[in-house]
């Protein structure tokens, strides 16, 4: 007996079609988050080698190839932050305030606002506390 021949829709190149491209662009930001985590790990390891070793690491991070890499990762991290809050209304339970469900756009806007505030806070606090 031969195997039943059922119709299977071709899935080749699905990620280039319609909403899937946006889905992929969102999920793939995990590579930027992971790569940046590993990059910071190398900095933490240099910190354990002492102040001078870490100063050299900071110098390497300002070299042109490292800056290009960090610019790419920064774009990925920013896209991660934006999309993270764009899907938040679908990943958390409904938020009820004063008996009414908070609309998705309000959660998204508030989240992206908080992400922007977080980025500014890290840059300002870091510049004040960690730069000479």
């Amino acid at each position: 007996m031969s195997a039943p021949r059922t119709y299977t829709r071709d899935m080749a190149g699905w990620w280039r079609r319609g909403p899937f491209a946006g889905y992929l662009a969102r999920e793939i930001t995990c590579l930027a988050v992971g790569a940046y985590g590993l990059l910071l790990l190398t900095g933490v390891l240099r910190l354990a080698d002492g102040v001078d070793a870490f100063a050299r690491w900071l110098g390497v991070m300002r070299s042109t190839p490292a800056l290009v890499l960090q610019a790419v990762l920064l774009a990925g991290l920013a896209w991660h932050a934006i999309t993270w809050f764009l899907i938040l209304p679908r990943t958390i339970p409904p938020v009820i305030v004063a008996g009414r469900r908070v609309p998705s756009w309000a959660i998204q806007a508030a989240g992206i606002g908080v992400a922007l505030a977080g980025a500014i806070a890290v840059v300002v606090a870091g510049s004040k506390a960690l730069a000479p």
């Binding site: 899935m11 990620w15 992929l24 999920e27 793939i28 995990c30 590579l31 988050v33 992971g34 790569a35 940046y36 985590g37 590993l38 910071l40 790990l41 900095g43 933490v44 390891l45 910190l47 354990a48 002492g50 102040v51 001078d52 870490f54 100063a55 900071l58 991070m61 300002r62 490292a66 800056l67 960090q70 610019a71 990762l73 920064l74 991290l77 920013a78 991660h80 932050a81 993270w84 809050f85 990943t91 989240g111 908080v114 992400a115 977080g118 980025a119 500014i120 806070a121 890290v122 840059v123 870091g126 510049s127 506390a129 960690l130 730069a131 000479p132």
Partner: protein, 109 residues
């Protein structure tokens, strides 16, 4: 039914995604394009318990987030996942977490 081993990984994924959304772009901008950091001050930050907690959380949670999301995204590409893929994703996150913890203890207090 076998209990799912997903919940703890999903929590780490969520915590890492939130932390990366809040501090990731700021950290990347600060280190690459901000005013040059003073290595002695960063070292002092890493000796403080709160500084250690922050650095550990960033390294570990970023990697657990990436591991979980990558493991699920490769499935969407029709990749047949086995133990090797699971170990590669979550194993890297576990080893990076351990390395960060050891280094932060070695830095001293």
């Amino acid at each position: 039914m076998k209990p799912s081993r997903e919940p703890p990984y999903w929590l780490l994924f969520g915590a890492g995604g939130m932390l990366a959304a809040l501090v990731g772009p700021g950290l990347a901008w600060l280190i690459a394009f901000g005013p040059p950091l003073d290595s002695a001050r960063v070292h002092a930050f890493a000796r403080h318990p709160l500084g250690k907690a922050f650095l550990f959380a960033v390294v570990a949670l970023f990697l657990w987030h990436a591991a979980h999301r990558l493991y699920h995204t490769i499935h969407d590409f029709g990749w047949k996942r086995g133990e090797a893929e699971w170990l590669l994703c979550y194993g890297v996150a576990a080893m990076a977490s351990a390395a960060a913890a050891l280094a932060l203890v070695a830095i001293g207090f």
